[in-house]
């Protein structure tokens, strides 16, 4: 008999008892859904970690080291070239590059706008003209403005209205940040920046090249460390931090802090790994019980359809044909449940990831699909083979009597 015919007759018999078939698959569905959910979340965490670590495609990792001055009014920078040289000398084997990291998004400044000093004002810095803002008066920063380091700046609509009542009035006024006097050439529409994570929601937008010129080009309160492939970045960062506390040029004026996103995510990963073991155990039990359910149903089916088996054998089905038919029924049942479980697990992981910290997204891979398919098919084979054998080995004479 052709394989397609075997599959067809398997589907036919399952359709004859839709409720029973559906109920039998529920256990498989739940088991697979649980496994896929936890795998998708686990993969999400791993992907987040690798995104965070691997700044380049060849697997280089990077971390940040920040300096916080003890005197909040202090203008001393935490790191200078001497510090970078120290790090290169001592950790050159591991650190590929140590560079002053200039913050470009929502940097806190205290500019003088008009005659007024405005504390806790945010400025974002750009190197190329941006189209992500809507200019309401004046003009946007141009490429030549930026390349020539013209002392020009853009102001946010709400700040302009607060200081000068209309956006038009703000054009041409001056903003002084540090020692540089900027001229306002444009006003842009306010954007939501409630969490301080929108670059274009800052109060001012200025030129990064100009802002970090002079002494600020080679000094700063943060450094970015890029490591060679295969280096334990977290550990080395900690060592560098200790070294800075001992030898750093500004060690006595403040504290150092390492920002290591990988370490934070590693904690989540540990939690997920623990959960994976736990949920896999539950899913395993669920699949086992579901398998016994399948076996039970197949035994019932075999004994209900004794006559059919007899007829098929009498018209020339070989015992192998009969066994294949019943085994296929069990497999169709479990794989059907498994695929449904896969879909549910995917959905569930997507929903749960909305409530996870650190922007973790559910990641469903081809491997997860193959796992769902393989496990459910195996359950079908393992728990379907005995009933199928029983069907194939029925005594034809006794059935037909």
């Amino acid at each position: 008999m052709k394989n397609t015919e075997l599959l067809r007759s398997a589907l036919q018999s399952l359709r004859a008892n839709p409720k029973r078939s559906f109920l039998t698959t529920i256990g498989i569905t739940i088991g697979i859904a649980a496994v896929i959910t936890i795998l998708a979340l686990g993969n999400g965490v791993k992907k987040r970690i690798s995104d965070e670590f691997n700044t380049t495609k060849n697997g280089e990792q990077s971390t940040y080291l920040y300096f916080t001055p003890s005197d909040a009014q202090s203008t001393t920078a935490g790191f200078n070239e001497a510090d970078l040289n120290l790090i290169q000398e001592r950790f050159g084997a591991k650190v590929k590059k140590a560079a002053i990291s200039h913050e470009t998004n929502n940097v806190s400044v205290s500019p003088i706008v008009g005659n007024q000093r405005l504390d806790s004002t945010k400025i974002s810095l750009i190197k190329q003209p941006t189209k992500k803002i809507t200019i309401m008066a004046g003009h946007n920063l141009t490429t030549s403005d930026l390349l020539n380091a013209e002392p020009v700046i853009l102001m946010k609509e709400s700040l302009a209205k607060k200081q000068y009542h209309t956006v038009q009035n703000a054009i041409g006024t001056s903003v002084t940040i540090g020692e540089i006097n900027y001229r306002v050439v444009g006003v842009y529409q306010s954007q939501n920046n409630q969490y301080g994570d929108n670059k274009y929601g800052a109060d001012l937008i200025g030129n990064a090249r100009l802002f970090y010129s002079g002494t600020t080009a080679t000094t700063g309160n943060g450094i970015k460390l890029t490591f060679y492939q295969g280096v334990n970045a977290s550990q080395t960062t900690k060592k560098i931090k200790k070294y800075m506390v001992k030898k750093g040029t500004s060690a006595h004026d403040g504290t150092y802090m390492a920002y290591d996103a990988g370490a934070e995510l590693a904690k989540v990963n540990n939690m997920i790994t623990g959960l994976t073991a736990f949920i896999s155990a539950i899913a395993g039990i669920s699949l086992f019980i579901a398998g016994i359910g399948v076996m039970n149903m197949m035994y019932i089916s075999v004994s209900e359809r004794t006559q059919e088996i007899g007829i098929r054998l009498a018209v020339g089905a070989s015992p192998k044909n009969v066994m294949a038919q019943f085994l296929l029924e069990a497999i169709v049942l479990t794989v059907g449940g498994g695929l449904l479980g896969f879909a549910i697990g995917w959905l569930l992981a997507g929903v749960i990831s909305n409530f996870m910290p650190y922007h973790i997204h559910a990641v469903v891979t081809l491997n997860s699909f193959l796992l769902a398919f393989g496990v459910s098919a195996s359950v079908g084979i393992i728990f379907g083979i005995l009933p199928a054998k029983q069907a194939a080995n029925k005594n034809l004479i006794e059935i037909l009597r």
């Binding site: 008999m1 052709k2 015919e5 067809r8 036919q12 004859a16 006559q307 059919e308 007899g310 007829i311 098929r312 054998l313 009498a314 018209v315 020339g316 089905a317 070989s318 015992p319 192998k320 044909n321 034809l396 004479i397 037909l400 009597r401």
Partner: protein
């Protein structure tokens, strides 16, 4: 030409002290094209005998030569093949699968022989019209009368062009008029298609319409005669 040759066939049911000797030293030859009736009381062993002849039962003592092939040496899988290629069965209670259509029932032997479904369905329509059930393809067995169901069963038995048919009390569940219709169909198959038919019956009117009658009592052949010859 001798198609079926049974030599010293013995058959037992059960084991040890409770062993029951069903068939005693059966010797029988059936030639191609015969229409043969096996008669006997219930429990005489006639069904057991045709189960052996029809390759349903592979557990017997003695020799069975089918077209001079020693069937008694064959394996279980070989028997499935023999059933599929060489014999068609018609049972007293029809033995149709209830939840699939008439056509699906009829094409089963062809499907197991590896014929495509499309081709098999075409053949089924032709065979169904030969047994007087043209257009019944998509009906379910339960929608048909007993006589019609037996015709379906005959259609299934002949669809793969077997060498011979085994009919176990084919008219046992039918009224007199329907019985005669089924007998007429068997006779027609035997005369026009030269299909060999071996049937078991306890109805003398049915047996008298065959060409040869073999009588079995207590597992022994006691009479073997040509009808209208003695």
């Amino acid at each position: 030409m001798t198609m079926i040759r049974l030599e010293h066939i013995n058959k037992y049911y059960g084991q040890g002290a409770t062993r029951f000797h069903v068939l005693h030293d059966i010797n029988l030859k059936v030639a191609a094209g015969e229409l043969l009736a096996i008669i006997g009381e219930s429990g005489s062993g006639k069904s057991t005998l045709i189960n052996i002849i029809g390759f349903l039962d592979d557990d017997f003592e003695g020799n069975y030569f089918y077209n001079d092939e020693p069937i008694h040496d064959y394996t279980r899988a070989d028997f499935a093949k023999l059933r599929n290629r060489h014999v068609g069965f018609v049972f007293q209670n029809f033995k149709l699968i209830r939840d699939i259509s008439i056509a699906e029932n009829v094409i089963l032997p062809l499907l197991y022989a590896g014929v495509s479904r499309k081709q098999a369905k075409k053949t089924a329509a032709r065979v169904l019209s030969r047994v007087g059930l043209a257009g019944y393809d998509d009906k379910l067995p339960t929608e048909l009368s007993g006589g019609q169901q037996q015709r379906v069963s005959i259609a299934r038995a002949i669809i793969a062009n077997p060498d011979f048919l085994i009919a176990d009390e084919p008219t046992g569940a039918l009224d007199t008029k329907t019985s005669q219709e089924i007998m007429d169909l068997f006779k027609q198959l035997n005369q026009t298609q030269h299909t060999t038919i071996i049937m078991v019956t306890h109805d003398p009117r049915v047996a008298e319409q065959c060409e040869r009658i073999v009588k079995i009592i207590d597992g022994k052949i006691v009479d073997d005669r040509k009808v209208g010859v003695d």
